[in-house]
C-alpha cells in the first residue's frame, strides 16, 4: 500500500504505529499519500501527519503513544485543496462544503512535498485518479542518500559526505597536463630542503673538529679544514636559496597555469548553463566562485601545496637529524613541542574569531564605500552627504575596534607562542649541557641540535594549521566543481532538428510553467501567432508576460504542454537555431563596455561596417552617433553609462535589426524615454518590425494600437484577445487597464 511519496522526503517513512493505526481503522482504503508536517497548529516545531487515502484526508498527531486524529474530511465534502505559501512556512488549506480549513502547517523545507500532496487531494476531489506525485523524486533528490542530511539547493552533492580526497584528485587532474612541471617542483624542493639540512651539521664540524684544540698539545689539528668547511657552508646556503627560488618559480607557473584552466572551464560552463541555474544562484555567489574560489584554489596550488610538501620533507629530515644527534634529547623536547601544538589549536580557534571579525568588518566598510560612491548622484540629489558620512564613521569605528581587539589578543598569544618555542631551547641547553658535562655529547652536537630545533618548529606550525587550510581550500574547490559539474536544464535533444530560417509561426499549447515548479506562473496557456503577425501582450505586473517571452526564447523549458515554432516543438529544434532567429529589445538595455560599433556588431560579429551603419540608420541611431567626437568608436562606458537612455535603446534596436530575426520581441522598449525620443524609437521600431513576427509588451497601451492582435494575460492565464478596438468595445479587462492608465495620466497632468 506504500506509495513512492511515503519516503519522498527526509525522515518521512510512515512510522509503524501510524501504519498500524491506518491498517486497523482504514483497512479497506487505499493509501495515496502521506506527509509529515514539521509545524504544529500552534505554530511550534512538531510533527503532524497528513494522510490521504482514496476516500478521505486525515490529519494525525503522534505526540501520544496512540495516534490522535485531529481532522478528517471525506472527499465527498472536499471542493479543492491548496498549498498556501506563507513567510518561512506554508499551510495546506482545504475548501470544503463548510468553508476553508487550515489542516496542516509545514516549514518552507517541506513546501514541495505539500504542494504535491495538495495536487493529489485536488485531483481526487475532482474524481480523477491521483497519479504518483510528479515531482516526488525531485524532493527526494535534496536529501543525501548516505547521511540523510538535506543538500543545499545550490549544491549538486552533499557537502558533509563529499569526498575531499576525490576533490583533491580532481585538482591534480587539472594539473596533469603540467606533470613535468610538478616533477620539477618536487625535485627542486627536495634538493633545496636537503641543502638546508646540511647547514646546522656544518656548525657541529666547526665546533667539534676545527675549533677544538688537541687536549694534549693545544694545537688545532684540523685548522686546514676551515676554508673547506666555510666553502661547504656557503655552497649549502647559496644552493638552498637558488634551488628554493627555482622551485618557487616552477610552483608559481604550475599554479597559475592550472587555475587558468579551471577558471576557463568554470567560465565556459557558466555560459553554457540554462538561465534557470542563474535564477537559483545569486550573481554575487557566482562571481565569488569565479574569482575568490578559484583564487583560493590558486593559493592552494601555488602556496599551500608546496608549503605542505616542504614541511613534510623538512619534518622528516630534521626529525632524523635530531634523533641521530641525540634521541634522548629528542624525547625530552617533545614535551614543549606537544604543549606548543595544544596551545596552537587553542589560539587558532580563539584568535581566528578576531581575525574573521576584522576581515568581515573591513569588507562591510568597503561595501558601504562602494555603495555610496556608486550612488553619489542620488546621495547629492537628496542632500544626504552627512548621513552617509555618519554611516561611514559608524562602520569605520567598528572596523577600528575590531583591529584594536585583534591586536590586543594577538599581542597576548603571539609572545606566549614565541616563549613556548624558546623554552625548547632552554631545555636543550639544560639537558644537553648536562650531557656535555657528562661527556655524553659534544658542544658541537648541542649547537647543531639547537639549529635543527629552530628548523623543526616551522613545519610543525605549518602542519598544525593543515586541516584548517586544507578544509578551506578544498571547500572552495568543491564549490568550483559544483559549477563545472552542473547540468544545463535546457539542452538539445540528441535528435534535435536544425532550422536554417524560421517563418515565425508560434503556438502555445496548454503551457504551464513556473520558475519554481511548485509556484506556476503560467497556467494552461494556449494561443497562436501567425508569421509576420504583430501581437501585443497586455496585463498587470507579474501577470506572466515576460515569462511568455522567456519561453519563446527558450531560456526555459515548459513544465507542461508545448510551444511550437513553425509547427515543431521547440524542444526538438536546436536551441542555438531558435535563439539565433529571435531578436530582443528590452526595457533595461544592457550595453557592454566597448565602442558603439562593437555593441551593435555584437548581434552579428561577422557583419561588415556598412551593415552596422545601415542598421544604425534604420534604428535612428546614426544621427546621434555622428554627433559624438569618436563616432562609432565612441566608448559607451560601463553598462553604457556614457549614453542617454534613448541612445542606448536605439543601439539595442540597431543590434536587433542587424540580427535580422524572424521573431522579434519588444519588452517595454519605449517606456524609459521622453516623448520626442519615443517618436524616433517608434520610427525605428516600425522599420524593425516590418515583415517579422513581433511580440511586444508595452507599458503605454496606446503604442499597441496598430498591432494585429492583443492578448490580455492575467495571473498566468489568457483572459481576452482581439484588436485594440474590439477589446475596447468589449469593455473587459483591457478596457479597465486603459481606463486606469488614462486616469493616472490625467492625475499626472493635473499635478504638473
Amino acid at each position: 500500500m506504500r506509495t513512492k511519496n511515503e519516503t519522498a522526503s527526509e525522515g518521512n517513512t510512515i512510522p509503524a504505529r501510524l501504519r498500524e493505526f491506518l491498517s486497523k481503522n482504514y483497512a479497506s482504503e487505499q493509501l495515496r499519500c502521506a506527509e509529515s508536517g514539521d509545524i504544529t497548529r500552534e505554530g511550534v516545531f512538531g510533527a503532524e501527519w497528513l494522510v490521504v487515502t482514496d476516500r478521505r484526508v486525515l490529519v494525525l498527531s503522534l505526540d501520544e503513544p496512540q495516534p490522535a486524529l485531529l481532522d478528517a474530511f471525506d472527499f465527498s465534502s472536499i471542493r479543492g485543496a491548496e498549498a498556501v505559501n506563507l513567510v518561512g512556512s506554508g499551510m495546506l488549506s482545504l475548501t470544503t462544503t463548510e468553508g476553508p480549513h487550515r489542516i496542516i502547517s509545514y516549514s518552507e523545507a517541506k513546501s514541495a512535498s505539500f504542494t504535491e500532496a495538495a495536487d493529489v487531494i485536488a485531483r481526487l476531489a475532482r474524481g480523477e485518479t491521483a497519479q504518483e506525485p510528479a515531482r516526488a523524486a525531485s524532493a527526494s533528490e535534496n536529501v543525501c542518500d548516505v547521511c540523510g542530511s538535506k543538500i543545499p539547493a545550490n549544491a549538486s552533492r552533499c557537502p558533509r559526505c563529499s569526498n575531499k580526497g576525490r576533490t583533491f584528485v580532481r585538482i591534480t587532474d587539472f594539473a596533469r597536463p603540467y606533470a613535468r612541471l610538478l616533477f620539477l617542483v618536487f625535485l627542486f624542493m627536495m634538493l633545496s630542503t636537503g641543502c638546508g639540512l646540511i647547514t646546522p651539521y656544518v656548525s657541529k664540524v666547526f665546533i667539534d673538529y676545527i675549533f677544538r684544540p688537541d687536549a694534549a698539545t693545544g694545537v688545532f689539528r684540523h685548522a686546514s679544514w676551515l676554508p673547506l668547511a666555510a666553502l661547504v657552508l656557503f655552497a649549502a646556503y647559496a644552493a638552498q636559496v637558488f634551488l628554493g627560488g627555482v622551485q618557487e618559480r616552477f610552483s608559481g607557473a604550475l599554479g597559475y597555469r592550472t587555475v587558468y584552466d579551471v577558471r576557463a572551464a568554470i567560465y565556459e560552463k557558466l555560459h553554457n548553463l540554462s538561465l534557470s541555474y542563474f535564477d537559483k544562484h545569486q550573481t554575487g555567489a557566482l562571481l565569488s566562485r569565479v574569482n575568490q574560489d578559484t583564487g583560493e584554489l590558486q593559493r592552494f596550488i601555488v602556496d599551500f601545496f608546496p608549503l605542505t610538501l616542504e614541511s613534510l620533507l623538512l619534518l622528516a629530515g630534521v626529525g632524523t637529524f635530531l634523533l641521530i644527534l641525540s634521541w634522548q634529547l629528542t624525547l625530552l623536547i617533545l614535551i614543549p613541542v606537544a604543549i606548543t601544538l595544544v596551545f596552537l589549536r587553542r589560539i587558532f580557534s580563539r584568535v581566528g574569531v578576531y581575525f574573521h571579525r576584522y576581515y568581515h568588518r573591513r569588507s562591510r566598510l568597503s561595501a558601504l564605500v562602494n555603495d555610496a560612491l556608486s550612488g553619489i548622484r542620488v546621495v547629492k540629489a537628496f542632500g544626504q552627504e552627512k548621513i552617509e558620512v555618519e554611516k561611514f564613521d559608524k562602520r569605520s569605528a567598528s572596523y577600528r575596534d575590531a583591529g584594536v581587539d585583534l591586536v590586543r589578543k594577538w599581542s597576548v598569544y603571539h609572545p606566549l607562542l614565541q616563549f613556548l618555542i624558546m623554552c625548547g631551547g632552554v631545555i636543550v641547553w639544560l639537558a644537553g649541557g648536562q650531557r656535555i658535562l657528562a661527556n655524553k655529547m659534544t658542544v658541537g652536537s648541542v649547537v647543531a641540535y639547537l639549529g635543527y630545533l629552530a628548523m623543526f618548529y616551522q613545519p610543525v606550525l605549518t602542519l598544525a594549521r593543515l586541516v584548517e587550510m586544507l578544509t578551506t581550500s578544498l571547500s572552495a574547490a568543491e564549490r568550483v566543481f559544483d559549477v563545472i559539474d552542473a547540468e544545463a536544464e535546457v539542452e538539445d535533444a540528441p535528435d534535435a532538428l536544425s532550422v536554417a530560417r524560421l517563418r515565425g509561426a508560434i503556438e502555445f499549447r496548454e503551457v504551464s510553467f513556473g520558475y519554481d515548479p511548485f509556484k506556476p506562473v503560467l497556467h494552461d496557456l494556449s494561443f497562436t501567432v501567425e508569421p509576420s503577425e504583430k501581437i501585443g501582450l497586455v496585463g498587470k505586473s507579474g501577470a506572466g508576460k515576460s515569462t511568455i517571452i522567456n519561453l519563446i526564447c527558450r531560456l526555459y523549458d515548459v513544465d507542461k504542454g508545448e510551444i511550437r515554432v513553425d509547427g515543431t516543438d521547440v524542444r526538438r529544434v536546436r536551441y542555438a537555431d531558435i535563439r539565433r532567429q529571435v531578436g530582443i529589445v528590452l526595457q533595461e538595455t544592457f550595453l557592454f563596455s566597448g565602442t558603439i560599433y562593437e555593441n551593435i556588431a555584437y548581434a552579428r560579429p561577422d557583419a561588415t561596417r556598412e551593415q552596422v551603419i545601415d542598421a544604425a540608420l534604420a534604428a535612428n541611431a546614426h544621427e546621434f552617433v555622428i554627433s559624438k567626437p569618436d563616432g562609432y568608436d565612441t566608448e559607451v562606458g560601463e553598462r553604457g553609462g556614457r549614453l542617454s537612455g534613448g541612445e542606448k535603446q536605439r543601439i539595442a534596436i540597431a543590434r536587433a535589426i542587424l540580427r535580422d530575426p524572424a521573431i522579434l520581441i519588444l519588452d517595454e522598449a519605449t517606456s524609459l524615454v521622453d516623448a520626442q525620443t519615443e517618436r524616433k524609437i517608434q520610427e525605428a521600431l516600425d522599420n524593425l518590425t516590418r515583415n517579422r513576427t513581433t511580440i511586444a509588451i508595452a507599458h503605454r497601451l496606446s503604442t499597441l494600437r496598430n498591432y494585429h492582435r492583443l492578448l490580455v494575460i492575467d495571473n498566468g492565464r489568457l483572459v481576452e484577445s482581439g484588436t485594440h478596438e474590439e477589446l475596447m468595445e468589449k469593455r473587459g479587462a483591457f478596457y479597465d487597464l486603459v481606463m486606469l492608465q488614462r486616469e493616472l495620466s490625467q492625475i499626472g497632468s493635473a499635478s504638473m
Binding site: 512538531g46 513567510v87 482545504l94 476553508p100 516549514s107 543538500i151 557537502p159
Partner: protein, 164 residues
C-alpha cells in the same frame, strides 16, 4: 493608505482554523491574512489586513498598532501572524558541530528546540545593520536572533565563532 478603525473590526477564528473579519455591519470576510509591514523593526505596528482571494492577497487596509485592539482580539491577530510568519527566534545555541564546512546547529527557539544544517556560514549567517542576525539553513528555513547580546554567554561565543 487606508488605515482601519480597529473599533470597527471583529476578528474571529473559524471552525476551519482560519481568521475571519467583520467590518462593522457592512462587510464580512471569511479568510483573512494579517501581514506585518515591518516584521523586524516594528512587529506589532503597521499590520496589513488582507483578504485571501484567487491565490493572492487583496489589502483591505492597515492597522496602525496592534496595541489598539482589545486584548482578546489582539491575541487572536497575533496568533495568526505567528502562524503566517515563521522565522523562529533563536534564544539559545546549544551546540554547533562542524564537519567539512557544514555545521549542524542545535538551538532553542521561541518555536521549540530544533536542529538544522548550515553550509558556508560566511554566506548564510549574516548580521544586518539593525543588529539582527539571520541564519539560513540548507533547506532555506530562516532563523533570526533579534538581540544577539541577550544570548547566554556560551551561545554568544558560539555565534561569534560562526557569524563572521
Amino acid at each position: 493608505m487606508k488605515y482601519l478603525d480597529v473599533s470597527q473590526l471583529v476578528f474571529r477564528q473559524t471552525a476551519g482554523g482560519m481568521l475571519s473579519l467583520d467590518v462593522g455591519q457592512d462587510a464580512a470576510y471569511p479568510d483573512i491574512s494579517c501581514v506585518q509591514l515591518f516584521p523586524l523593526s516594528h512587529p506589532l505596528r503597521y499590520v496589513s489586513v488582507c483578504e485571501r482571494c484567487g491565490g493572492g492577497l487583496r489589502e483591505l487596509g492597515v492597522v496602525r498598532d496592534c496595541a489598539d485592539f482589545a486584548q482578546q482580539q489582539r491575541e487572536l491577530v497575533l496568533r495568526h501572524i505567528r502562524l503566517s510568519y515563521f522565522v523562529p527566534e533563536i534564544t539559545d545555541i546549544l551546540r554547533i558541530s562542524g564537519r567539512r564546512g557544514t555545521d549542524t546547529w542545535d538551538v532553542e527557539t521561541d518555536r521549540g528546540n530544533t536542529t538544522f544544517t548550515v553550509q558556508d556560514h560566511k554566506e548564510n549567517v549574516s548580521l544586518t545593520d539593525q543588529g539582527v542576525v539571520f541564519v539560513v539553513a540548507v533547506d532555506k528555513c530562516r532563523y533570526k536572533i533579534s538581540r544577539p547580546g541577550l544570548l547566554p554567554p556560551r551561545a554568544r561565543a558560539l555565534l561569534d565563532k560562526n557569524l563572521l
